[in-house]
Chain length 700, copies 2
Amino acid sequence: MRSNRAYVVGIRHERPHTMSILDKVETVNDVATENDAAMIDRAYLSRYLLGKWADVRLVSRALAGKPEMHNIPGLGMDEHRARVLGQLKLLVENGQVHRAFPAAYGGLDDHGGNLAAFQELVAADPSLQIKSGVQWGLFTAAIAHLGTKEHHDRFLPSAMSLETPGIYAMTETGHGSDVSSIATTATFDEATGEWVINTPFRGAWKDYLGNAALHGKAAVVFAQLITKGVNHGVHGFYVPIRDENGSFLPGIGGEDDGYKGGLNGIDNGRLHFDHVRIPRNNLLNRYGDVDENGNYTSPIASPGRRFFTMLGTLVQGRVSLDGACVNASKIGLQIAVTYGNQRRQFSNPGQEETVLLDYQRHQRRLIPLIATTYAQTFSQEVLLEKFDAVFSGLDDSDASREDLETMAAAFKPLSTWHALKTLQDCREACGGQGFLAENRLTLLRADMDVYATFEGDNNVLLQLVAKRLLTDYSRKFKDADTGSLARLVMEQVTERAVTGSGLRRLGQNVHDLGSTARSVKELRDPDTQRDLLTDRVETMIANIALELRDAKKTGEEAEAFNRNQSALIEAAIAHGHLLQWEAFTNALDKITDDGTRQVVTWVRDLFGLHVIEQNLSWYLINGRLSAQRASAVTAYVDRLITRLRPHAQDLVDTFGYGQEHLRAEISSGVEQERQDEARAYIAELVRSGKAPIPEKSSRQ
Amino acid sequence: MRSNRAYVVGIRHERPHTMSILDKVETVNDVATENDAAMIDRAYLSRYLLGKWADVRLVSRALAGKPEMHNIPGLGMDEHRARVLGQLKLLVENGQVHRAFPAAYGGLDDHGGNLAAFQELVAADPSLQIKSGVQWGLFTAAIAHLGTKEHHDRFLPSAMSLETPGIYAMTETGHGSDVSSIATTATFDEATGEWVINTPFRGAWKDYLGNAALHGKAAVVFAQLITKGVNHGVHGFYVPIRDENGSFLPGIGGEDDGYKGGLNGIDNGRLHFDHVRIPRNNLLNRYGDVDENGNYTSPIASPGRRFFTMLGTLVQGRVSLDGACVNASKIGLQIAVTYGNQRRQFSNPGQEETVLLDYQRHQRRLIPLIATTYAQTFSQEVLLEKFDAVFSGLDDSDASREDLETMAAAFKPLSTWHALKTLQDCREACGGQGFLAENRLTLLRADMDVYATFEGDNNVLLQLVAKRLLTDYSRKFKDADTGSLARLVMEQVTERAVTGSGLRRLGQNVHDLGSTARSVKELRDPDTQRDLLTDRVETMIANIALELRDAKKTGEEAEAFNRNQSALIEAAIAHGHLLQWEAFTNALDKITDDGTRQVVTWVRDLFGLHVIEQNLSWYLINGRLSAQRASAVTAYVDRLITRLRPHAQDLVDTFGYGQEHLRAEISSGVEQERQDEARAYIAELVRSGKAPIPEKSSRQ
């Protein structure tokens, strides 16, 4: 079965050929022999977590820590928008936003470093991050990627310098996820040699555009390119929007999207065009051009392939949102764990009050979130390195781009949802304190909310991942008939349960009651974790593929696809988890400090087993785990949480944020001061003999 | 086994003695014979959902629909606070807030109606709801419940009329959930006959108090009552706070809690007291008094019982938060389902674009939320009727109060979390539109966030429920030794799987492959659903009780309790689900319209089976469901969702909110207009022969 894997899981997973020394020790010895006294080397791990672009990250993080870059809770929308525009200028002054652009225009051609720096801005203010993303990651990047030298010369300098605040006018009120169906048209007028940009109806208004409500002077407008009565699909056009005084140019109108659930430092707005004329050479013509006679040419023959090529730069947004969300999760956890380690509530009779993080429920809420955040830190690093390789041209093959797209489409949903869950759980774990703006969590969560649906709605992205998995699967079995596919699936189920490597041991012992220790030992084995995670993706995809294949024959493929939509999305999520687990496991091998690697291995095990625990019913229904083994999963998750509890503060402190980033009163140590003051007061009262006697005691 | 149930589940579940006609038909015939053409009678169901206090609700809802009662998105904090204070005066003018008070003081002695009306205010502005809750549900209610006639005469009229905006000063920075440990002291000075209110250290500052930052003129301050060197525990004291000009009175200080994640129409703040003196008769002395010589007396001998009696009125807050959250969920669903039925995105080749709610994933996200909201509507009604019976004195026994406390502690966590999940899922289901303030969802969610941790942190409340379940269990088995308890648990497991009623049929057929139809038929049987839900609560509690009992012997009960904290909370949640399911099932019996009852029965089945599906691994691990049956649960959930999809709009429209309550642009029908306009435009273009040809077609 091993040989099928590469086809089924899309991204090629390679089993590491060498095991780390620690792995060998672990598989030989029993659980009890692990080094329970292992400690994290904080300085070492903190640096390690910063990854390849550590220095770039630290410079950007230092800037994000400056007061002038911070959001001010409760600031009105108008003031917030003005403040963020001012901050964009500071980014330019500090040279923080030009890394990705060509050296010829003052950039550094550094794609990975650019996104690493960008992701750190979330600590300053997510509005600042996203508005700078609109200006340089979307508007300016569209000029760079979709335009040619003429456009670069004409438009790049003022876009890069923010002299021209710009708009990326793609989304319409009626079309967000389905970009190919946008209804704005750009029709070539041969008589004048101009493009006529037009909005045919209300649903075709450009909507949700950053910079559109106030600051944008020009836009890259995406529209259906029509010439000689033929629609050549979506292309980008450079369109001036406002004059020097900020008034709309003739034929252009729009309105403010107004107040939002978050990100109110960005002036999102709507635009519409009434037969607005722009010169022929304002078409960004790298992937499609029209000559003065109205004849269309393109270096990419297939309209579909051309469309996806032009949209290819959007992956940059997904990569960076993934990283930004991981950072937001880190900030939330550093705040909540710090408070949870200081705040006390309730006591057992005669004892001092209990620290919140000593409660099992508190641990169960926060520690698995730490594990997932570690996994996402490592998977973001893999994604960013892949992105850098593709965009720098070092590894820019079709297969690489496809892998990059799939990884980004898998990780961005997981990390955006994880950030929302993490910030919410952290907020609740801090009680009412968590709700105060002075403690950061709620407003940060409000800003991150839209990350789940913009730059690719999470569920739409996950379907792309699932389609890729199905394609890989069908490539492998393109000559097989349904009967042999069905046999294969059945064999797979049987084989895995009985003789498949890794799972074999689990399967053999289905009736082996009372061997929790052995179960745990197996669950700690990375091969077991990998097999369990991989098997789920493979089996889910195989089952769906079979059903779709049957449906195709009767012409009911669309219905079958929709009937399996949830299952497809679940399979894509499972695939994302597997990729994160692989990234985590690969990162473990490179940790050179033994104590650190031991503790972080427990974190990896917790991540893997927590994912398995959350899908336990699947493993049980499909015969992958016996009831006994399934119980062992939960038991071992509990044990890992207990084991990691003493390391919780180290694990979040190594995220490396200072008070200037956290900006949460309760993370400042103030709670510890309050606790110390209270206990000193009570001790003094007792010492003085003036402490009142409890009524109960007084009557004895 | 049946006879144990009443002990184990706390609230006494009674199996309805009569089955409805429909139930009989269902258990006799096959699934296919159900009335698939059943339709909801919208007017009938809408009224039915309003429950016993329908008319009171409608009056309050009409007021909540008036523009002057609405929140204004993006309004600054200061303006919002002033606006809400003005709205409180409108509530007084409209006679909306005095229902619960004694007739002698202008009230109606109507406790249930009071909370029903209060819950509806969430549709106007949650800040308005909660600030009115502070004024009348906490401050004024404390005077009424903890004070005696003298206090009623002195303080009630100006509190009721809002002449004295008041503060309920219970929570301290260092103590929220653990009220009995607050550190503010009220020491009786026999020399002057005064109370000396004092804040000993920073952690003892009163915190998070509505009305404290700005508007509050007086407070009911909770403090440890100390006289003659004895601490008699927490009591309430009436303390003037600000003078006519709004300045703090001598010895009182405080600060503003500032901007929050939501509810910014409420001026939460902190207060501290430096030996502030108040007259002896400002002690609210119904449950404890001190005479002029400093001698303490109380009608309740036990300090513990006295404390819980004084805090008994807090249940009012939990009951009303439960109802408010159910209403918030309704608002979110009415918005998202309406938009999901109008907005289209993506199409299969050659077909028109698909309505969002026709996507399986969209259905899977929203329709189970509708089912849970129905369940919570009915369970809130049961809770409110119980509350009314207890507080009106109709059924004010210790057992009734205990049941009320347990139900409120079980339902409030479930409904507050459900509202947050629902509003978030609705917001994501509406994409970027859902994030705009003009579409309501994000700001409503932000306001509801703190409902999960105030008036009893959800996890703390659920532990109270679990403790009640354990107490009931131990009462039943108080004379049993551990050995016989262990046997009992084992017998229970075995018996349920093999011979227990209801589950027997499931157990018998563990190896009966291929009988999905029969499985589904059984799952539709309410007895099966009840047994599955009940069995889980019973078994979880029995297992924990056994472990705690063992631990008690070795003096490790506290550790064992903490080791089981998560399991206890899960058991409490399971118990809450069971109670909700029972409330739903009882409510079904009273529906007199056949079509409505049929559709709402599917909703009940979806609620019950969705809960079971979410805990499927438990049922599998514990041998309650075979893998085959477990698969049937998911298959039937899918089928129910498909079946309910055509009724989704009816199911949310019957919640009965108008545009004046929803206040979401996308719920207004505007999306349907946009879709119609777009399609008319395209049809006209095609008719005119001027439609551009797609490039792909042009080359063929």
